[in-house]
């Protein structure tokens, strides 16, 4: 009986990334900056409850690794901020989540190591190449282990969704495994609860080499709205070395899948240059209504690495 039911709706599974997927293209990502030199730039940082927005010298930038997608900036200043759309929100380096990556902008709070100049394409390519070298051996059989380090519960749902018939990651040779000893990739969610520090570290150490860590969600990337808190480490990077950073509160299943394929170097037409390898997060089509009247400027200029290669 169940077999017949299983056939009832035909094939539901997406063919993404080999074929485009409308839902993947339309789903909302973190906020982006659509105007680089807005009026009253110094007032913009106050819009953000998590301090993701920074302004200096009349220019504004947004750290998607802190964006909890509350939409306050987009609602208050639609001529400056917009929603990104599409799954390509992950980055291989933490500063890669800052859009646009402006030269000479002082480091954002919480990012002490950020250099004062944009990441050069060469150094990003080096990071990407190192990751590629580690993941080459995994080929088309990749086992994932998930550890919750203080999530709000939504990231687990979105990771589990990868197993439902729509995403069905088994078709890509990606499987979830129960034991960290069988795992190649560690998906870590949550703001880094201190109670999970030791279990997370032990799960990471139990994994065989090569191993990849993906921080899934804004909470895992930098603590999101949960930090600062006496009970968290403001992101999981304090405990395990993160290879791929996925913003979102929570990230969509497609965004998580994109991050996995990015880590594995398996995005079609991948140019080993981090998030700009495939479709970058682009501003969503303007919302209907009064906002549509204001012509949104094009995506950040060509000097921003995140927009390089926006040809998909």
């Amino acid at each position: 009986m169940w077999v017949l039911r299983g056939l009832r709706n035909g094939v539901l599974t997406t063919r993404w990334p080999a074929r485009p997927d409308q839902y993947a293209q339309d789903s909302r990502g973190p906020a982006v900056v659509a105007a680089r030199q807005p009026a009253n730039a110094d007032r913009l940082p106050g819009l953000c409850p998590t301090g993701a927005i920074a302004a200096a010298g009349g220019s504004v930038s947004l750290d998607q690794g802190r964006c909890i997608q509350c939409g306050r900036c987009v609602r208050a200043r639609p001529e400056v901020f917009a929603w990104s759309a599409g799954p390509a929100s992950a980055a291989l380096i933490r500063p890669g989540l800052i859009v646009p990556d402006l030269a000479g902008l002082p480091g954002l709070p919480g990012l002490p190591g950020r250099p004062g100049r944009p990441e050069s394409p060469e150094s990003l390519a080096a990071v990407s190449e190192q990751l590629r070298a580690r993941t080459r051996a995994l080929r088309r059989s990749v086992h994932l282990r998930h550890v919750d380090a203080g999530s709000d519960g939504t990231e687990e749902w979105e990771i589990l969704a990868l197993l439902n018939p729509v995403y069905d990651v088994h078709r890509l040779g990606i499987f979830l495994t129960a034991s960290p000893r069988h795992a190649d990739v560690l998906l870590v969610t949550g703001a880094g609860a201190r109670g999970m520090t030791e279990p997370l570290r032990r799960a990471y150490e139990a994994m065989p080499h090569p191993k990849i860590v993906i921080a899934v969600g804004t909470d895992a990337v930098g603590g999101g709205l949960i930090s600062p808190s006496y009970a968290t480490t403001a992101g999981v990077a304090a405990t395990v070395p993160v290879d791929v950073w996925v913003p979102g509160s929570p990230p969509t299943p497609f965004a998580i899948l994109y991050a996995l394929l990015l880590a594995l170097g398996r995005l079609p037409g991948a140019d080993p240059a981090g998030r700009d390898a495939a479709a970058p997060a682009r501003p969503a089509p303007g919302p209907p209504g009064p906002d549509a009247a204001a012509p949104g400027p094009p995506p950040p200029g060509p000097s921003a690495p995140s927009a390089a290669g926006a040809q998909r």
């Binding site: 009986m1 169940w2 077999v3 039911r5 299983g6 709706n9 539901l12 839902y23 789903s27 909302r28 409850p49 909890i68 997608q69 509350c70 939409g71 609602r75 929603w83 998930h146 550890v147 919750d148 380090a149 203080g150 999530s151 709000d152 519960g153 939504t154 990231e155 687990e156 749902w157 979105e158 990771i159 589990l160 969704a161 439902n164 018939p165 729509v166 979830l176 129960a178 034991s179 960290p180 949550g190 703001a191 609860a193 201190r194 109670g195 999970m196 279990p199 997370l200 032990r202 799960a203 709205l225 949960i226 600062p228 808190s229 006496y230 009970a231 968290t232 509160s249 929570p250 969509t252």
Partner: protein, 514 residues
Amino acid sequence: MPAAASAEVVADVPALWAELISEVAAGARFAGLFGTARPGQLLLSAHLARPAGIATLEAALPAAAASYPALTPLLGAAFWYEREIADLFGVVPAGHPRLEPLILPLTGPLVLPLTDPLAGPLTGPRPPRPRPGMPGGPAIAEPDPRALPRHVVGPGMFTIPHGPVRSGVVESIEYLVETPGEDIPHLNMRVFYKHRGIEKRFEQLRAADGVLLAERTEGIASVAHALAYCHALERMAGVQPPRPAALIRVLHAELERLACHLDVAVRLADAAGLAVATARFGWHKEQVLRLVGRLCGSRFGRGVVIPGGVSALPAVSPGDLLAAVGRLDREVTSDAAALMGTASFLDRLRRTGPLPPQRAREHGALGPVGKASGFADDARLARPYDAYPSLGLRPAAPRRGGDALARLRVRWDEVAQSFQLLRQVADELSGAAGGPLSAACDPVDGRAVGWAEAPQGEVLYDVRIEGGQLTRCRPRSASFHNLVLMHEVFAGDILTDFPFIEASFGLSLAGVAG
């Protein structure tokens, strides 16, 4: 300190307990016991659910008191609440039957003089208690498992530590299954692993920002938490959301209920090894999340509920919404009927994890867990809010089995109700004449309790605001109230029943650990 307008102040703690017990004996439901640190004192606030609303009784522990007579021996439902108070404030509920750390194990003396942690002279080592309600607090509180007791095991008995990193994609908790081999005579739960310090974090936020953290307190019930928080603010400000906003709130709350109940179906079908059923319900759940995403941009309905109303109209026309709901209803109902006709599946659920009706009533079990044991206190019916009073929600026929099967049946009842409500909302929205979507709701100083019926049961928020700033916010999820009942439902069940029982409770641990 502004007067706690909505609370009835009682002379001292024994008098508070006496009044609480007599109220519960008279039919009120114990809904929670929270602490609030104030300079030189600890306020204990007990909440009672009555048909008219949530009543709050309050008593202050005098300065320098390091303990108080425990409520738990008189009222078992306070078991975890008092352990949480001991963790957060360092006071001892004297006579508590099992005073172990629950959400924050810290080594060092538990007994502390209740002086102001910033001003008072302190001697000796002092564990960094967070003390919600008091300004300041520890920068870091590193949980120390050495504070947890070791359990003695007898000959032939052993403890299976299950967690905090468990198989599957699940939230972190450690179950200590004490077993002689196959039966589960006793289960312990350690929920502290994912404690995030949410209550103290609220105190760093403006009242208008609190709703964002409420949405992240228990993510799979984002809408219900946002509603309960906003109801508290709206009660303080004396504001009612406009009619379209009330409808949109119901729309998102019921879609959230669908998603959560379908998630339980996925987990149960998966535990039974029904691959096709798992895939079918997983697909239905994905469809619900996609519909929510199309309506508001977030697959979890985040950003919709704001103090005073909602942020925007749904981005889907009422006609399309009606069609989508109708399609989902047909598919889910058909697959649910098939699932409830699959004998091998029902065998695993029948008489699994039974919660006796008497215990459900004593504890005030919330949501589907309570309803399945004949104790129904649905906030949408008993203390209705937003558009529920006018939508004609009727209580479903009572269920009494108390087992995992009854809990699933209750969920299907609720799914049918949700589809009915969604149709009504879509109908009414299509005729709505526009107008504002929110009433001005500037934070007003004071204190109020807000509630909403999450898919897991009633969510309760006890909120205080001073000068537009949150000075205390205690979110109490249904998961926190219900999870403790997992201690009691393993009568005669064996290890392989564990996933069914856990899934049938349908709780989120983010809402438990805080």
